[in-house]
Symmetry: C2
Subunit: 243 residues, 2 copies
């Protein structure tokens, strides 16, 4: 039997999603709790790993069991055992062909950032990017990221992935509140650190170190060193996975 799991978590206190020796990871905690609840050894497969410090509003996973489970009881018992910064939103039985990673068609990430003086409230979930940025020019730059491109420029160099072509369906900056913004980006998949490097590059546009149209040149050069820095993981949230 295969079950689909929707999970939210705050990444702050974890070394990312994926299991690593001697580190506190979301996958480890989920597996420990589900194994206890189901009285079976459970392996949890996610739509993709998220890095240390990255949060998720609805990460999608699946796991297999050798016997039927009561989804409702499993949900409430698991949540009673999980730490508060990890919550299971739903458990439902799915077809054996469903695969949380391979069947994911689309993902949406938010990256929160703010300008002005550092304040405690925004600092708790968003990245401070300076006193004053040309946000309008950053908004203009977003359009050049949309489309099917080889995004080698926005991929961390320490990766084994060969095909760096991805489709970005939507990319926009939204003013959430005074001084507070988010980049909302949807694509068929994302390369390692891709969203964080895109934000770092857009910040250079906001700082007038780049023009918005320079984004086109940077993408065409396919060279990581031409893009901006990798922004901190704080601020990044996996919002939605579509199948």
């Amino acid at each position: 039997m295969r079950y689909k799991l929707i999970v939210s978590y705050i990444g702050t206190n974890y070394s990312g999603f994926q299991i690593q020796n001697n580190k506190k990871t979301i996958q480890q905690i989920l597996q420990d709790v589900l194994s206890k609840v189901c009285q079976l050894q459970i392996t949890v497969i996610a739509s993709g790993r998220t890095d240390a410090g990255v949060s998720a509003i609805s990460q999608v996973c699946h796991f297999d069991t050798s016997k039927e489970i009561n989804e409702k009881k499993c949900l409430s018992y698991s949540n009673s055992l999980l730490p508060k910064d990890i919550r299971i939103l739903s458990i439902e039985k799915v077809d054996d062909n469903f695969h949380a990673r391979y069947n994911a068609k689309q993902k949406t990430y938010d990256y929160f950032f703010y300008v002005g003086m550092k304040n405690s409230v925004y600092e708790s979930f968003a990245t401070h990017v300076g006193i004053n940025l040309d946000i309008q020019e950053m908004i203009n730059a977003c359009q050049f990221i949309i489309g099917e491109h080889d995004f080698s420029c926005f991929c961390a160099s320490n990766t084994n992935v060969k095909d760096k072509v991805r489709i970005i369906y939507d990319c926009k900056i939204i003013e959430v509140d005074e001084h507070l913004y988010k980049l909302e980006i949807t694509g068929n998949g994302f390369l390692y650190n891709m969203v964080r490097i895109i934000v770092g590059t857009l910040v250079m546009v906001g700082q007038k170190k780049l023009k918005s149209s320079d984004i086109v040149k940077i993408i065409n050069m396919r060279d990581r060193s031409k893009a901006g820095k990798t922004m901190p993981s704080k601020g990044l949230i996996l919002k939605k996975v579509v199948y």
Copy 2:
């Protein structure tokens, strides 16, 4: 000499703004740090107290000194001593007639709430109000709160304030993201627990226990027991004070 202070804080770990014996309060910590930095006994007066658990993006305060201080040095030294969940955004010399509390003309609060299943990300700063609410009816209800009214119905009973007439300039519910909303309310002043009781009453509208137009009747009855419950302090943020 009088100085105006803009401060942000996350209320979670404090027993509110105002000094209380043997409790960790924002006022106490600000006074301790400023007294050390200025080498003077400093008393900090805020635009108003905020309750335990309530955060502020820009609370305004003032304090007096018997000698000139270097604002820039005071700002950076104070921030280096303050805990991260309290940040001073600015310090500037003002006229001796300026009073953070008595001169405040207008305040804006945000109250964050969300629907759907409980998730860790929203749960960290917003109040969960149920699986499904009639948000449109809650939006309609907001218009009946705007204006000059005796708001006795939205005032906690344990208060000494006699004049309960306040002017609400604006009151609206904004969809921040899927399932996540905030009430943004601006007025010339707020009664004890007023925003939290307004949200509690609007939630009853969303649950269809009240019609939006019932708000008018509730206000006219001037009776706390007719309004909804006081919502948790988590979710409430003092956003702006105008002078």
